[in-house]
């Protein structure tokens, strides 16, 4: 990021410069004591992303600077820095992009920068990008995607090269025997996953308690009886040691009712009238 710091007082200029650098370490900050040289620099091609400028400047005031800046570099943001908060209204009338009151604090500069460049500079684009030139690499946002197998990366590079066109395993150069092995490995991995899922499901079932009816069963029962829509359901263990579903429903008239369903699927209303 390139920033201009403009203030006619050396001490203030130093302070502003340091605040910008502290707020944005990567910033390339150029100092100016007058507005005109800053405009000249811009016209010579040194266009900043943001200008932090004092308002009261000899020769050309910061407010005049703002309008010249909008012409010379429409994309450059301007943030006014002044000891007089009274200038704020005038500044924003000239479409200032920000306003900082002296003494300039790093945190305030950071806030202004965040507000100005939130979407474009601070957050890297969160999408997948592929770099083919040089070594092949895939990035998610700013970080590289790691492949646990080199072959997977090669395969992806090959597919990227085909840009969506048809290709076969032979094109990729894998012998049929190896394909069989790979497919078998994938199938086994899938099966493993299924087993794990099954176990997890069973575990949660047992943890939930003893009612053999699933949530879908409960909803079916409520539906069959025309009790309306289910608002909430939970399993409770009653004095008889059995697990019951306790279900709250909302009828078509908007009234809420509470039901208890025993393991056999018998439903009864437990509202106190």
């Amino acid at each position: 990021m390139r920033a201009f710091a403009i203030d006619d007082e050396q001490a203030m200029l130093d302070e502003l410069h340091e605040a910008i650098v502290a707020a944005e370490l990567s910033a390339e900050v150029h100092d100016f004591k007058r507005a005109k040289p800053a405009i000249t620099a811009i016209k010579c091609g040194c266009v900043p992303d943001v200008v932090f400028s004092d308002i009261e400047l000899p020769g050309m005031s910061g407010l005049v600077l703002a309008s010249s800046l909008k012409e010379a570099a429409p994309d450059t943001k301007i943030v006014f820095v002044t000891a007089y908060p009274d200038y704020a209204v005038e500044a924003f009338r000239l479409h200032a992009d920000g306003f900082v009151v002296k003494p300039v604090e790093m945190a305030r500069v950071r806030e202004e920068l965040d507000a100005l460049f939130e979407s474009s500079v601070e957050t890297p684009p969160s999408k997948l990008s592929v770099r083919c030139f040089g070594s092949f690499d895939v990035f998610f946002g700013a970080s590289p995607v790691m492949f646990s197998r080199t072959q997977a990366k090669e395969l992806l590079a090959f597919l990227v090269d085909r840009v969506g066109g048809t290709c076969t395993w032979q094109d990729f150069g894998i012998p049929d025997d190896d394909i069989a092995v790979i497919v078998k490995a994938i199938k086994e991995a899938e099966a493993d996953k299924q087993d794990v899922k099954q176990e997890v499901k069973q575990e949660t079932q047992t943890n939930k308690g003893g009612n053999p009816l699933s949530e879908a069963d409960v909803e079916q029962i409520i539906w069959n009886n025309g009790y309306g829509e289910v608002v909430s359901m939970l399993q409770v263990q009653l004095n008889d040691g059995q697990w019951y579903w306790e279900v709250t429903t909302r009828g078509s008239d908007g009234s809420q009712k509470t039901w208890v369903i025993d393991p056999a699927g018998n439903i009864s209303n437990v509202d106190v009238n």
Binding site: D8, E9, Q10, A11, M12, R34, L57, P58, G59
Partner: protein, 144 residues
């Protein structure tokens, strides 16, 4: 307290100018040609002139640089204190248009007349700097 001795007035605006020099560094130069200090000066007459010389004179130019000269000298019938700058200058005839300048200088002139029968003389032209002189007559009780 309507008058203070020139020596203490001098001391306070020297401080003021030192502060301004801290702000503007080499952009603001100050010169003193003080020949006499043994007379009384109405309060709040010199300070506005020095401030004008810095703010509107020196800082009012394109470059924002210049020199403020403060001088005092004694004549047979009066003392003169002059604040001069080589800055932006202004057209004295046009003063009534610019309310801020007008009010400041008119106030100083009025104070001088009421307190000690003194007067204020303005010599200035746009781009030629300005020279404002306070005149204190010796007859009207300004003398020690």
């Amino acid at each position: 307290l309507q008058c203070s001795c020139t020596r203490s007035s001098l001391a306070s605006f020297i401080k003021y100018l030192e502060l301004e020099q801290l702000r503007f560094g080499d952009d603001l130069r100050v010169a003193y040609e003080i020949e006499c200090t043994e007379f009384l000066l109405p309060t709040l007459t010199l300070q506005p002139l020095v401030e004008n010389a810095v703010r509107h004179g020196v800082r009012g130019t394109e470059e924002g640089t210049g020199t403020v000269t403060i001088s005092s000298c004694e004549f047979e019938d009066r003392w003169n204190v002059t604040v001069a700058d080589d800055g932006a200058g202004f057209a004295p005839a046009k003063l009534p248009d610019d309310e801020r300048l007008h009010v400041g200088l008119a106030n100083v002139r009025e104070r001088l007349r009421l307190v000690c029968g003194g007067d204020l003389y303005i010599e200035s032209q746009p781009g030629q700097g300005s020279r404002v002189t306070i005149s204190i007559p010796k007859t009207a009780g300004g003398s020690r």
